[in-house]
């Protein structure tokens, strides 16, 4: 068992319902790295959170060897680079062009695809039609990128798959609450199939938050 000295300790400050925070849980579990997790209350930020992420004061934050790293995509690449021996599953390929593609899709998920889906799920009647159209367009471009691959990373889970946890898991819950049909087997058969492979992957399955709790959490937010 790993020693509990400061140097080797891996700590995650997160929020269980946040897909961004969950990316870090998934990544560390895929690498088989043990870590200590602290649940943060963003309405009442802890001294540790303010110390480790003074710039954005958000989760997730990774603390390793006393150093803190913020921003989920930055953290994912750090994890991939540090825990990179042969037994550890690589998130990024070696080839620079395919690395650039993976980074592009992670950024496009965060800048364009996630916001479009989120907006659609929380849209009011007035903006709904346009928001749904944009969300469907976003899912289409993502499916076009997946093509016939099992995962975005190919045969195994890669950086894009980890970053797409929102698509694989959160979307089904949010669309149900909103009464929308966005990611369905009829509309996006390949992407839907990917989502099923994803949530049934042995490590991912253990790393995702429980569905009924996540549903209840977002349902309560919807009422406000």
């Amino acid at each position: 068992m790993a020693s509990s000295s400061d140097n080797e300790e891996v700590r995650v400050l997160g929020k269980w319902a946040s897909p961004f925070s969950n990316r870090i849980d998934l990544a560390l579990k895929l690498k088989g790295v043990p870590y200590n997790y602290s649940e943060e209350d963003l309405a009442n930020k802890s001294l540790d959170l303010l110390k480790y992420n003074p710039v954005h004061k958000k989760v997730p934050v990774l603390v390793h060897n006393g150093n803190s790293i913020a921003e989920s995509l930055v953290i994912l690449e750090y994890i991939d680079e540090v825990w990179n021996n042969n037994n550890n599953h690589a998130f990024l390929p070696q080839d620079p062009y395919h690395r650039a593609l993976a980074r592009f899709w992670c950024k496009t998920l965060d800048d364009k695809i996630l916001p479009a889906i989120w907006n659609a799920c929380w849209s009011d009647e007035k903006g709904r039609e346009k928001a749904v159209e944009e969300a469907l367009e976003a899912l289409k471009i993502l499916q076009d990128e997946l093509k016939d691959k099992k995962f975005f990373g190919g045969e195994t889970i890669g950086l894009v798959d980890i970053a797409a946890n929102f698509i694989g898991y959160w979307v089904s819950i949010l669309q149900e609450i909103a009464g929308l049909e966005l990611l369905t087997i009829e509309k996006f058969p390949k992407l839907y199939k990917w989502s099923q492979e994803y949530i049934n992957h042995p490590v991912i399955k253990e790393g995702l938050p429980p569905r009924d709790e996540l549903f209840a959490f977002f349902k309560a937010s919807a009422k406000k």
Partner: protein, 219 residues
Amino acid sequence: MENEVVLLDLWASMFGMRVRIALAEKGIKYEYIEQDIWNKSDLLLQMNPVHKKVPVLIHKGKPICESLIAVQYIDEVWNDRSPLLPSDPYQKSQARFWADYVDKKIYDLAKKVWARKGEEQEAGKKEFIEALQLLEAELGDKPFFGGDKLGFVDISLVTFYSWFYAVETIGNFSIESECPKFISWAKRCLQKESVANTLPNSERVYEFLLDAKKRLGIE
């Protein structure tokens, strides 16, 4: 071969400038194809169908979109000279974090100054200065964000300096008086050929921005 590396870009784009600086730092010859962003070319739409934006780096016929991703790609392919990112994973993560901060904040805050008026513009000026001051604090006593040499964060940020005159003129304020350290860092970067040869004339940028505002219907 020059045709092996092609850059689709707009001369005034602070994002495109990042890629040009990186290529210059590595001594890479390339073909530059100026894009008319008001009338997008078939090539641009074909090479960046998702975002339809510049810059696009094309290497051996394959497109790489998003300026910071292109800069990292350049660093990884031409990894035998002038490293742009640190090799230590923690230092690298910090460089990526700060470049991401620049991406998330600087353009939008500058836009709040040049696109808005009245109270909104005043708020934009204040937030913009605060962001630059945070970056000054991060720079500390180092000559560059990359330490002794120009690095990833320097490249991601210095290109905005070419827009300062435009932002100051429209916003009617002085950036240097609030952020002297930032300005002296930018001037230090400009002593490097790669930066000096890339950043366009500030007055030309101001004219470009005035024209852009008209086209976008922003007063």
